[in-house]
């Protein structure tokens, strides 16, 4: 969703900075759950950096997949690396749904950031604080520490940087639905997973209290998951397993009142997967007794019930014991502010470059001259054209007007429209751990090879200016995606429409997730957690 827009902004910012009156500088940033964008490059700064031995200061905001992956791959002997994040650890987020039910423990999936860089040479600093303002003009970030009772002052401080890596991640998207923030759990951070785990146990303990009506017991054990994406579905499956494999034995009297339901605004769950997987998941959930409410849109959440609408039934209100909101993620306010600051004139700048004779309009020929570079720089344009069976950019123009007659020329408004359409409809890189990790290591690799690539640029030719870009643009290599469905069954979709579902895939899932751990320590912990669960079951302490 946001990725494409940012790709444009990326180019725009670069264009703006390339005008002679601007001070040149380099700033890299990684945005969202992992959309990597780099804004502008400055060879002057680099020469200082490379020539004198005065190491440049790289500031990383955030310790998620992109930030941690960058940190692990950056050569700290070349840069002074400083990290600012509200959390002093990296979280292996794909296992968060497992933490909600105690299949693995919270601490087994986190790795302290200081551990990641401890054995590296070079200066490294970590500050546990949240960045609340980026000032790219003065190359400063303003941060605020999580102030306790025992620190004087406001806990605010300013960090200056030479290069800034923005990898603060996204936040849950509530679509401004009233009551969601107050009453729903999210599943984005380790703390969220811990809270959900505690909350599940509290629901069971409440339902088991004496002197409750049957209705009240049912209400307490009504678990509602809003959003049928991979996170919501995996959590529903985990919860179902937890209830049936462990809690049913411990709470035999209230077992019959448990109800797990998944509310999805679309017609199906797991829509980003192959239809075969969606179908398998829906059938499995049906067999398991997980209540699938598709085509229901949640419009309000109170402390007692959830209101949703459906074209057929109209508004429906159901009571609930616990609700988990997992409808996707949105951009953090700090990033939106930042984008405003650096990305005001994006499309205009591209237009200016393509319009070499300053005629105020682009002809098909003018566009064709820079099309190869546009494609390489903004792969979504090419992908979009291909997926819509268009032959070139001029097809897009035709289409953008909804007019069968092909346009010969287009002005800046039409050009904006054409690009906006690509961005609104093209399939963006998903905001997944896989994407973010690849982006982080790509960017670290760029930093590490900066000197070499300065001399021998390997990227596409520059749209503005001379020569080539130093680096090849980032290309995402999709390695497939898992969707655990509970009952030791997992769906796996490989690139190229390979689909596999079943118990064997679950074992593949175990081995891939174990191997992808950030350290041997967490690998050992996660594997021993799985072992413990096989032998003793999950822990039901309301801790």
């Amino acid at each position: 969703m946001a990725s494409g827009a940012w790709s444009l902004v990326r180019g725009a910012a670069e264009a703006v900075r390339r005008t002679p009156r601007w001070r040149k500088r380099l700033a890299f940033f990684v945005v969202g759950a992992g959309t990597l964008t780099y804004a502008c490059q400055d060879s002057q700064v680099l020469q200082t950096c490379d020539g004198t031995g005065n190491k440049k200061k790289v500031v990383i905001l955030g310790t998620g997949w992109a930030g941690a992956s960058f940190l692990r791959n950056i050569d700290t002997s070349l840069y002074d690396v400083h990290v600012v994040s509200p959390r002093n650890y990296f979280t292996f987020t794909p296992l968060l749904p497992s933490v909600t039910c105690g299949t693995v423990e919270a601490r087994s999936i986190v790795e302290p950031i200081r551990n990641i860089v401890r054995k590296k040479s070079g200066a490294f600093r970590f500050w546990e604080a949240e960045c609340f303002k980026i000032d790219p003009k003065n190359k400063k970030v303003h941060c605020r520490s999580d102030v306790g009772t025992n620190i004087n002052g406001s806990g605010e401080f300013v960090v200056d940087y030479d290069y800034l890596i923005v990898s603060v991640g996204a936040r849950p998207n509530t679509f401004n639905t009233p009551g969601v923030t107050e009453n729903c759990h999210f599943l984005k951070e380790v703390e969220d997973a811990q809270k959900i785990r505690k909350s599940v146990m509290k629901c069971f303990e409440r339902a088991a209290l004496p002197n409750l009506s049957e209705e009240e017991r049912k209400k307490n054990l009504q678990f509602v998951i809003i959003g049928g994406g991979p996170t919501g579905v995996e959590f529903a499956a985990e919860l179902h397993d937890f209830v049936n494999e462990d809690l049913a034995k411990l709470y035999p009297d209230v077992k019959k009142y448990v109800n797990i339901s998944v509310i999805e605004a679309g017609g199906h769950i797991l829509t980003m997967f192959d239809k075969r997987i969606t179908q398998f998941a829906e059938e499995k959930f049906k067999r398991d007794g997980i209540d699938l409410k598709t085509n229901f849109k949640v419009v309000k959440v109170s402390d007692k019930d959830i209101t949703m609408t459906n074209p057929a039934t109209g508004e429906v209100t159901v009571p609930y014991g616990m609700a988990v909101w997992s409808t996707g993620i949105g951009t953090r306010p700090i990033i939106m502010d930042f984008m405003k600051q650096v990305g005001q004139e994006d499309v205009a700048a591209i237009f200016r470059v393509a319009d070499k004779d300053n005629s105020g309009t682009l002809t098909v020929k003018k566009i064709k001259d820079v099309l190869g570079d546009i494609y390489e720089r903004y792969p979504q344009v090419e992908l979009y054209l291909k997926s819509n069976q268009m032959k070139g950019f001029h097809d897009l123009l035709k289409d953008s007007d909804g007019n069968s007659k092909e346009l010969k020329e287009l002005d800046i408004e039409q050009f904006k429209k054409a690009l906006a359409q690509v961005d609104s409809q093209v399939k963006m890189l998903p905001a997944t751990a896989q994407v973010a990790a690849q982006e982080g290591s790509y960017l670290a690799d760029c930093f590490n090879r900066m000197k070499t690539c300065e001399e021998y640029p390997e990227g596409p030719i520059r749209i503005r200016g001379q020569g080539r870009h130093r680096f090849k643009p980032f290309r995402y290599r999709h390695l497939g995606q898992f969707a655990p469905l509970g009952g030791e069954q997992t769906a796996y979709q490989l690139p190229g429409d390979w689909v596999h579902v079943g118990h064997s895939t679950q074992w593949l899932w175990y081995s891939v997730y174990a191997s992808k751990q950030f350290s041997w320590r967490t690998r050992m912990l996660v594997v021993s957690d799985w072992g413990r669960r096989f032998i003793f079951g999950r822990d039901s302490s309301s801790l």
Copy 2:
């Protein structure tokens, strides 16, 4: 402190109930961290219970050492067992100091209560709620559940019982020192240990922030432990190890600012141990750089500093980053209320029984007639006399008046005075896990053998009434006590003045604590936590 008083109450309550006009009944209760008291016994109820197969309802308040130990040993085929506790798990409290620094994980030392009884036959109920009122007259307990947002009403309910086991545990004793509850950590529950762990990491992260003065860094890393008992000393030792073995590598810049100090009102730490252990501990702490402030009494804790007094220096105020209060435990308000209800006429009743001719005074002879039974029932009387080199109860009378002339007779006020003196000065059973666990299993054993012992009583003769008590009174078997001092060294004091300190004792500590775990699950978890710590060190995530 409270144990002796309760022993009197125990007898008192029994006496009160023994008068013919009272309906007979049986109520057992375990109070405090483990003082076992049983109130009155009713053979009628027992006959109903044993003869008809209508199982009696045993309600247990609390899931600490005494409650869990009782629960593990009670034969649930003989009784309906119901447990009310605010926590649905048992905590292996001796490992709490290890949890504060991540040497073991919080979940490794807890066992869900439902797991303990799952494989037993018979009815079992657990309610996660806190008992706020005991009504012994109507045999009811009033409970309040930890109400969340999703339960209707106040969450209050009433449970009736045939037998009540009160094992609610104690609470930290602040001696009403201002600011302690608001600003200090305690170390009584698992949640406390988790909070301390998080707080330690927060202190380090705060001290590592940029733009702080040296003074502020020092303040944040000033760890203060108030109370030089086993808990405080073990926590200080754990923290010292954590800082030196793990955090020093991760926070090299602020390592030098760390200061750990133990504030003790008395002249020495670990005063309940042999002097050799005290001395060894004090010397080790000195070598380790742990600041021992003996003869300092804390009078106030604000959010920034701690005020204490010392006869030599007067009032001193020191800033701190984190403070842990571990000066001992006190009685919960619910128990004090309960004692008032059942123990109003305790001494009076004993007096009445001994004063067979209703003369209003006891002669030495009258006392001597029941002295054997008093000794067996209230062992503290005998112990007190022995430790004060008195020959008999009449010596106590003499002493109680502060009069060298021996009293021939004494009235009820003098008798009360004499017993109160015993209770105020005698050494009580310590409020330790060991005592509580033995009391719990003793009591469960009594319940299990109730039928047999009804026919063949094995206890001392009854002070009032005929025949013998059914059960031998509880006798505590002290198996020694550990005091871990950090650096893989532990002190161990066996009964009979055997003392051992060193690395080998640490291994003894490991094996004893592993073997004492409540389940194979927690045993495996604790041992694997120790292994993980040896290999990878402790986790420093501020989670």
